[in-house]
């Protein structure tokens, strides 16, 4: 009886502290801001891609180049894709996939399985799988980046003063049973070895420190996003960026991406689509 009484006091104290801290934390939680941070208008809908073409030495539409280590995006040297005839293989032209292009505000995830038996990518929503050294590659956007295993935001494009800035961290290329994040900004790697329970402990600590210690969450992306232009009258857009390749057989190469097409506004896609 006396033991039970002794227990009641500390239990009640702990419960009171937890209740008080929770109430305080709830009171101090901030209201989510509406609209993109930094102002501007978010373009939510479909970035319908124009197929890449090569006419008289001029490349237009949607295309990709792979820059060799030490090169620069303007002058190269580029990796020659023997399966492409554009610019002697220095450019790989891309065609819109079954969705017509890139959806912003939602994901266009990899199918399962992501590859056929030959290592060809089966993701066909954003772009048509395209041959690159004998094996087809393609693009998807996923809630968790397949290479870095880092949770990433869906593609977000913001228009401000006629210029576009975009968070395309989830832009993932798949080729030959391998995934390469080709986004901008780049997701940080979350694939390092962890002791048993470490990931859960880190998540719990992040939650606690964010909730009660007002600490800023660790950044999950690094570097600049994509940039481009937008014509509000016609909806014509251009987005371009470079993305360093980390890991795999093309480690230290850089992807140069150029998307061109027409923006079609629509509702936000359901989360996790």
């Amino acid at each position: 009886m006396s033991g039970a009484r002794r227990l009641k006091v500390p239990v009640a104290t702990v419960a009171a502290i937890i209740l008080a801290v929770t109430v305080c934390a709830s009171c101090s939680s901030k209201t989510a801001a509406s609209g993109p941070p930094g102002g501007g208008t978010e373009l939510v809908g479909l970035l319908r891609l124009t197929p890449g073409t090569m006419n008289g030495g001029q490349i237009s539409g949607t295309w990709f180049r792979m820059l060799q280590p030490g090169g620069n995006p303007k002058d190269g040297p580029y990796m020659k894709n023997a399966d492409s005839s554009a610019d002697d293989g220095m450019v790989t032209l891309l065609e819109p996939g079954t969705s017509g292009g890139l959806r912003t505000g939602g994901y266009q995830s990899q199918p399962t399985p992501a590859f056929d038996t030959g290592g060809n990518s089966l993701a066909d929503a954003i772009t048509v799988p395209t041959k690159f050294f004998g094996v087809k590659f393609s693009i998807s956007t996923n809630p968790v980046d397949p290479q870095t295993k880092t949770p990433v935001a869906p593609p977000t494009v913001v228009l401000k003063g006629g210029k576009l800035t975009a968070d395309l961290a989830s832009w993932a290329a798949s080729w030959n049973n391998q995934n390469f994040n080709q986004g901008a900004p780049k997701p940080v790697q979350s694939t390092g070895a962890k002791a048993p329970g470490q990931a859960q402990a880190e998540r719990a600590w992040d939650w606690v420190s964010h909730r009660w210690l007002d600490s800023v969450p660790k950044p999950t992306v690094t570097g600049a996003g994509a940039t481009g232009t937008y014509d509000a009258k016609t909806g014509a857009f251009v987005l371009q960026w470079t993305s360093y390749i980390v890991g795999g057989p093309f480690n230290s190469f850089t992807g140069v991406w150029h998307l061109q097409g027409v923006f079609e506004p629509s509702g936000r896609a359901p989360a996790g689509a």
């Binding site: 399966d83 030959n176 070895a193 890991g247």
Partner: protein, 306 residues
């Protein structure tokens, strides 16, 4: 009313070492890195994967001979097929490197499998730290606790010490650790950033050459064995390319993990012993020492404690 002070202080000192040592020495991260490397290499080390790698290499070798024969027969000048020219200049070195890598991976297979069978390798640091905490508890109750608590404390210390000493034999660490040392020695020449860069360069040269085989080189007349060998390479290319890309990717992704394991192995090099070889016996010794100290401090009523 004398307490077993020496035994208590011994347990406290051992407890501090066992608790702080693995944390300060980064043992948790190193053991996790080792486990991750073993897991990520698993698909590459199967008999099926190794046989496929061998077949890939044979296809590449035959395809190279076929291309050489077609070049000679058709008197193809340098510059017509720059990708193939580059590959032909380097093919002997590239194929030798690939062959050397495959031989090395094959030779490492038995040791790799023994290491992979070690149970709970990444949980081992928890066991050591748990042993340290229990030793600290045992030391404290011997110094400060009453007779009953002190005896229970000693029993807990002895049981934990037995678990630590038994772990190498129960988990397979005793046999797996020397195999781990041999595995590290065997893979060390290829698990370096320089070697990985070379593998990546080789891969790029091969894909460049194959790209031409599938496109511009198709128009070159060919017949007989050479035609068959080149056709086989083109047909099998997706598999060859995928296997090569996977191998290069796995090696590249695990350079850091390999280094962590290597650091663990050289931890005891100042005393001339491999860390891996010494580790099981370190655990046995730690368990025996911990149990011995605890038993030496076994509380006796009326003599040492009330």
């Amino acid at each position: 009313m004398r307490r077993p002070t020496v035994a208590a202080l011994g347990l406290l000192a051992l407890g501090v070492l066992l608790t702080v040592g693995p944390i300060a020495g980064g043992l948790f991260a190193k053991a996790a890195a080792g486990t991750q490397m073993i897991d990520q290499f698993a698909p590459l080390m199967t008999a099926d994967a190794l046989a496929r790698d061998g077949a890939d290499l044979e296809t590449l070798r035959n395809g190279t001979a076929g291309v050489d024969a077609i070049y000679r027969r058709q008197d193809i000048a340098a510059g017509w097929f720059p990708g193939l020219d580059t590959y032909r200049r380097q093919s002997t070195a590239i194929l030798d490197r690939a062959s050397g890598l495959l031989d090395r991976v094959r030779a490492t297979g038995p040791d790799y499998r023994r290491v992979a069978q070690i149970g709970g390798f990444d949980r081992m640091p928890f066991l050591i730290v748990a042993g340290g905490i229990v030793s600290l508890y045992g030391g404290c109750v011997l110094l400060l606790g009453d007779f009953r608590r002190a005896r229970i404390g000693v029993v807990i210390v002895v049981l934990t010490a037995m678990a630590i000493a038994a772990y190498p034999f129960v988990s397979g660490l005793e046999g797996g650790a020397p195999a781990g040392h041999r595995m590290l020695q065997s893979l060390a020449p290829v698990m370096t950033p320089g070697e990985v860069r070379q593998l990546q360069r080789d891969f790029i040269v091969i894909v460049g050459a194959d790209g031409e085989l599938e496109t511009t080189f198709r128009g070159v007349p060919r017949s007989g064995k050479a035609a068959t060998e080149v056709a086989a390479l083109v047909d099998r290319w997706p598999t060859v390319s995928s296997d090569l890309a996977t191998l290069v990717g796995a090696v590249d992704d695990n350079i850091g993990n390999f280094k962590a394991l290597h650091d663990l192995d050289v931890l005891t090099s100042p005393i001339g012993v491999s860390g891996f070889v010494a580790f099981p016996w370190f655990l046995v010794g730690t368990g025996a020492l911990s149990a011995g100290i605890a038993l030496a401090g076994w509380p006796r009523r009326g003599k040492e404690m009330s």
